[in-house]
Symmetry: C2
């Protein structure tokens, strides 16, 4: 059985509570910044073991969350994201072990040079500090986000969705057990112990300088609120309005393979294609096969006049469709006047997330990769590779479309900053 | 003769004016992002020539600014910063040529790897976008900041101090001439054409997303306002409360040489030492020579009891002295109980800018460099090396103490971000 939720909700002083959490996180971050990789990995390994050992308690807590959400009338898809089972708990534990096996980015010297006066300058990776994670009712994020922050030497302040409060707390207890086992402060990963939404506001205000960056994990409503209200930097993307452009020099076979994968492999991920652009110069040969393939695969198509003309199952696209991220088996489709028109369309309607060109013309590919101003640009590969795991990062905390510090998949390395370390032999400035 | 100031001050709609400047800067930034290094350097070279050719006009404009400031009762030091002469104008032109000679950071591939499926992933530097510079009445910043932004492919929106408006405008005209000569849009470097302070507020609000980062250049009042009010990221430092710690294993000769340089070479720079910490274990041998050297060099010393005991010219330090950046021939001095006490003092009172340890003990040096959480940490070298030029960056737009994106001296490289460029041969995600 799990303990009942501490009932400070709405009664305690949230400001005081959150300020205390911020101060303790900062103190923990100072310890973590100097913690050797081996000790962090020992904590992570112990966390994975604790998650497995506490499986029954975690599932019991989750059952209570599920029962409450069901009673509240939650939809099936929502309950599915909230639900844990033996396999998902094992997945949480295995995910922690993946992070334990990653290389520690802290202490890596990314550049080093010697000045004419003999001084040695090194640029070395150090942790960012304290990272606030605001997420919806997906209990696994409690572990995923917490351990990735720890790997990079950061303290994490986790604020999960209210409906998963018991599940998150049960998983968090396993994380704390791992921290204790390795002699690390429990405040290295703290879970906000209240469902009061005022806690989120306090985090967005930065907890008196004790949060260095905030990462929202969840739907657009959450991300939009965080981006609009946060007084500290945010790593996030609001939209993944992802384009695939079929250039006139595209192989039709490759175009079909990639478009099908980019749109239909999983429609709910941020790297899923949302708009198909086809060069007018190859429309006669490429458009109909691509459109019919998608329709036959169960994808709804919203096209411009030229696309509507190839199949009567195509629905007309409205202006709004060009900027819509469907996250569903729907795609907008348009015939464009060559690569410049494609790039202009992406600049106008895109979200600077991920965009791809399919072509056998290297010059066209180079132009697209240079001119499309997105975090990830691809040539002859599926947009669904927009994922930290697929980049080889091992794990990611999300994908960022902002221009500062982190861009694209945010892995352990992107959760660090750097400092300059200078070693001299008595040099003074003339 | 210079043209009279356009008199939109207080009369036009500043919001509309600034929004237009933002949109034009964004459009220019899109052009600059794709401009080859050669073309940017051609513009820079033409700018330097134009500054030299327009020397008489620039000096005449400056004379009008000086006359107005004098009539307004400006102090001598203020007038000195505002004043141009032939040598200073030549310095502006030469500074532009230094930037022209720098390596273009845009397009540099900083990491590249191949995934098991054969996809090639590259991380490539791209410009940040639009950079807003808010500065005081130092006309040379108009050129220094504008050209460094251009080098890194960014558009710049410059808002200089009102008292240097005519001088800045005359220098800016030379920059525009260089942009035109190279076929680049004039909005690549725009100068806000009004003295109305509301323009600064508009910039701090981000001009509808058309400013990506703001760099304040000036005194603490300006930096504090920008940091408090900006709704976009800021690269800056508020304080440079710089420490030199004399470890028990320090060579006295080296300690004396470095402390004298760190404090007295130039007292007004942000890398100037402001607090001297001496290990109690070497105080008997090192303290008195260091203190007397500084006093004899004309430096006022505000010390704790132990420091006061060595020379009756030492004044008592108050609690406030430990966190004061004097930017003058004054230093706070304290005897500490070893390296841990020194690090704790720096953590408590420091500003995460630049701190140094003097020691012959490599283990103590390593500990200090690891544990002091500042943008720049030095061993056996003067803190006055905290400067982009001294790092070998060629030019800097300032020094940042924030943790995100830029930290330490901000040169052309730090004015870029990156994107991921992926080249495949038809890969799809399983």
């Amino acid at each position: 059985m799990t303990a009942p939720l501490k009932s400070i909700d709405g009664t305690g002083d949230i400001s005081v509570l959150m300020a205390g959490i911020g101060r303790e996180a900062r103190a923990a971050a100072r310890v973590l910044a100097l913690t050797p990789a081996e000790q962090k990995d020992r904590a992570l390994t112990a966390m994975a073991a604790a998650v497995r050992a506490r499986k029954a308690a975690i599932l019991a807590a989750n059952a209570e969350d599920i029962a409450e959400a069901k009673a509240g009338g939650a939809a099936k898809a929502y309950l599915d994201r909230l639900a844990l089972n033996e396999a998902r708990v094992e997945g949480v534990a295995a995910g922690i072990e993946v992070v334990a096996a990653l290389k520690d980015p802290v202490g890596q010297v990314t550049e080093a040079w010697t000045r004419p006066n003999g001084m040695r300058v090194e640029r070395v990776r150090v942790p960012l500090g304290v990272i606030g994670i605001i997420y919806e009712s997906r209990p696994n994020v409690t572990a995923d986000a917490g351990v990735l922050c720890l790997k990079a030497g950061n303290a994490a302040i986790l604020r999960g969705g209210s409906d998963s409060a018991r599940s998150s707390r049960a998983i968090h207890a396993a994380l704390e057990e791992g921290l204790r086992a390795a002699g690390l402060p429990e405040a290295a990963i703290s879970l906000v112990p209240t469902r009061d939404r005022a806690a989120v506001g306090e985090m967005l205000a930065g907890l008196d300088g004790n949060i260095d960056v905030i990462v929202p994990r969840g739907g657009k409503g959450l991300v939009a609120r965080v981006q609009a209200e946060a007084r500290v930097p945010v790593f996030a993307h609001l939209d993944g309005n992802v384009h695939v452009y079929i250039d006139k020099a595209a192989s039709l076979d490759m175009a079909k393979t990639i478009v099908l994968n980019a749109k239909m492999r999983r429609t709910g991920v941020c790297g899923a294609a949302e708009t198909l652009l086809v060069d007018r110069a190859c429309a006669a040969t490429h458009l109909k096969p691509l459109i019919e393939m998608l329709l036959d695969a169960g994808c709804e198509i919203r096209g411009d006049k030229a696309v509507q003309a190839v199949d009567n199952r195509v629905k007309p696209a409205s202006e709004e469709d060009w900027s819509t991220e469907y996250l569903d088996a729907i795609i907008a489709a348009k015939v464009v006047d060559g690569i410049d028109d494609a790039i202009a369309h992406i600049e106008r309607y895109g979200s600077h997330h991920t965009d791809a060109i399919i072509t056998d013309d290297q010059a066209a590919a180079d132009k697209f990769l240079a001119q499309v101003d997105s975090a990830i640009v691809l040539h002859n590969a599926s947009t669904q590779f927009a994922d930290g795991g697929e980049f080889g990062f091992g794990a990611e905390i999300g994908i960022a479309t902002g221009r500062l510090h982190a861009r694209g998949p945010v892995g352990a390395e992107q959760l660090t900053t750097f400092k300059y370390r200078i070693r001299g032999t008595g040099q003074i400035r003339p």
